[in-house]
């Protein structure tokens, strides 16, 4: 892979604030270092990663040893701060308005509920007869962030604390629950609530409550980040 690819890739993990602060061109090593911190803060403040440090040490970009020491001392300690994400009320409100606009347009034009579980479900084999608008919608949804990053030179943070195995198991359970419950955040939480559907109200309250309880148990009772 060309260096530029990895720089861009690592850049996705740094917050836009970091990016602004360091508007001057950075060596690849520095960017990678920052990216690991952003991820490490979430992965588990206690054990980021001798593995990651080794990866840096063995990476093709020469990283000065004092840099690595600095990295060690800068590692987030077992404090609450390490999981922080930036509070973004305006951007989130604006994004919410756009999501609402999309939901209204899909109803006005296609007469469909904008529930992502339902839209995805209709594409699974054997696909529904009306698979084409579903595929087009998902293609648009996937293209949008790619276009924002490519054209707008904006950084969209994405961090997950989970290992590959946990992603697979977690994803499976998300899918099973959403399909069994006939909807997820978009279908029940936005479209259903907007229609004042009693089923969606029950579903939304239920998954909000179990999500809150789950995060509390994982973060504060089991104590893992």
């Amino acid at each position: 892979m060309p260096t530029g690819f990895w720089d861009a890739y690592a850049g996705l993990f740094t917050s836009s604030r970091d990016r602004k602060r360091e508007s001057s061109p950075l060596p690849a090593a520095n960017l990678r270092l920052r990216s690991s911190r952003a991820v490490g803060g979430v992965i588990g403040r206690r054990h980021i990663s001798s593995v990651m440090i080794e990866k840096f040490a063995s990476s093709r970009c020469p990283v000065p040893s004092e840099f690595l020491d600095l990295h060690h001392t800068m590692l987030p300690g077992p404090t609450r701060g390490s999981n922080m994400t930036e509070f973004t009320p305006l951007a989130s409100l604006l994004g919410g308005l756009l999501i609402g606009l999309a939901a209204v347009l899909l109803m006005a034009l296609h007469g469909r509920i904008m529930g992502l579980t339902g839209i995805l479900s209709g594409l699974l084999p054997p696909p529904d007869a009306d698979w084409s608008w579903r595929a087009a919608f998902l293609l648009g949804a996937i293209s949008a962030p790619a276009l924002i990053v490519a054209l707008g030179d904006r950084v969209i943070p994405f961090e997950t604390p989970l290992s590959f195995g946990a992603q697979v198991v977690g994803g499976l359970v998300v899918g099973i629950g959403a399909a069994l419950g006939s909807g997820c955040t978009s279908g029940h939480g936005v479209c259903g609530l907007a229609r004042l559907s009693p089923r969606s109200l029950v579903a939304t309250c239920t998954f909000m409550a179990t999500a809150l309880a789950t995060v509390f148990v994982i973060r504060h009772l089991l104590g893992s980040a």
Partner: protein, 137 residues
């Protein structure tokens, strides 16, 4: 026309998800971590989305039919049954643990994140399993 319109609406949706921060699982988890690193941003996402959709649906659903279809495809069931509650409870547990809901994580594929792809494929398989079991009954 149906396809182009769906593509455009998908673009609006994906932009909303990206701008709002719903695309980031860590942010979603923090929304639920009120006792810890709480990030209330997603309440603003919900508020914005609901406000527009509530008003918009009022206007749209008064019309006899959508522009590109013969009828509105709106769920009519009002029954609150076990699958609804059990499924939602299971979904919430996994959503809290992963920070990944279908709407947030599908657009994340566009960021080139391998994790997003892993999540989406797993979610699709999960949905497929339920469909298979339900079809057998």
């Amino acid at each position: 026309m149906t396809i182009i319109a769906a593509l455009a609406i998908g673009l609006i949706f994906g932009t909303g998800i990206a701008v709002s921060g719903m695309i980031n699982p860590a942010k979603v988890i923090n929304f639920f971590d009120i006792a810890g690193t709480w990030d209330p941003s997603l309440a603003f996402v919900m508020a914005g989305a609901l406000a527009v959709t509530m008003v918009g649906y009022r206007v749209v659903l008064r019309r006899p039919a959508p522009v590109l279809d013969r009828e509105f495809h709106v769920p009519t069931s009002r029954q609150i049954d076990l699958p609804l509650v059990l499924g939602s409870a299971i979904f919430g547990i996994a959503w809290g643990a992963t920070g990944a809901c279908p709407g947030g994580i599908i657009p994340a594929i566009g960021l080139g994140e391998p994790a997003a792809l892993v999540f989406v494929v797993s979610i699709a398989i999960g949905i497929g399993i339920v469909r298979l079991v339900q079809a057998r009954r």
